[in-house]
Amino acid sequence: MSNVKLAFLIQRPPYKSETATLGITHAISYQVVEMLLEDGQNVIPTVCMVGEGVLNCLKDQKAMENYGVMSIESHIKNGLLVDLDILVCKEDLARFGISEDRIADAEDMGADKKLQIVPYAEIQKVMESSNHLLVF
C-alpha cells in the first residue's frame, strides 16, 4: 500500500483559458487511475484554489447558458461528489471581498463534501506534504 499525494494548485481565473477547468478534471481522474496501477497503489489529489484562482468558486455560473460549455462550478460540484478535497484560500477570498455565501456547493446533488475555506498556511502544508505539485 503506497499512496502518492498530489497538490493541484489552481491560480488562473475562470474561462479565459481551459486551465482552471482542466485542473479540476485532472484531479477528478484520480478515480480511475487504479486501472493503470498495481494493487494497493493509489494517487491522492488535493485541489487548492489560490490567488485569482478563488474566482473560480463563485456559485450560479451561467456558462452553459451563455457559451454552451460546462461551468467550472459544475466541475467543482462533480469534484465534491467524488469526495475530492478542494481547499480555497481564505486570505484571497477576503482580499477580493467574496463572502462564504457566494461560494459554490453541491448540496443539491447530495454531496457531503464542501469547499474547505482555509488559511494559506494550510495550503502551504498541503504543498509540503505532497509528493508533487501541479500548478494550473
Binding site: L55, D60, K62, F96, G97, R102
Partner: protein
C-alpha cells in the same frame, strides 16, 4: 479621437489602459475584464474605474462567472452583445483590444 477599449483580462491590463488618452474614451469590460467592474482588491475598486471614461460590462460574461448586476460598480453600465454593436458603430470610431 473617440476610442473604445475592450478589456478582457483582470490584472495585466491596468498599466496599458492607464496610458490611453482620448477626447471620448469608452472602456468595455468583457471576459475576465468584468472583474474590474465587480471585485474590490483589498477593499479598493480597480484603478481603471478612476479614469475619465464611460464604462460598460458585458452581461453574459458577468453571468458566466456567477456575478450579478448588484455586484457591478455604480460607474459601470451593464450591456448586451447587441448594445456593444451599437457602441461600436455609434459611439466610438477606433477600437482596441488590450
Amino acid at each position: 479621437m473617440k476610442l473604445g477599449v475592450f478589456v478582457n483580462d483582470y490584472k495585466s491590463t491596468v498599466e496599458t489602459v492607464d496610458r490611453l488618452t482620448a477626447e471620448k474614451l469608452g472602456i468595455i469590460f468583457i471576459q475576465n475584464g468584468v472583474f474590474h467592474a465587480t471585485i474590490k482588491d483589498n477593499g479598493k475598486a480597480s484603478p481603471i474605474l478612476d479614469k475619465s471614461a464611460n464604462f460598460y460590462a458585458l452581461s453574459e460574461d458577468l453571468a458566466t462567472r456567477g456575478l450579478t448586476n448588484t455586484d457591478v460598480d455604480s460607474r459601470v453600465k451593464v450591456v448586451t452583445y447587441s448594445d456593444v454593436v451599437d457602441l461600436i458603430f455609434n459611439d466610438y470610431e477606433k477600437l482596441i483590444w488590450v
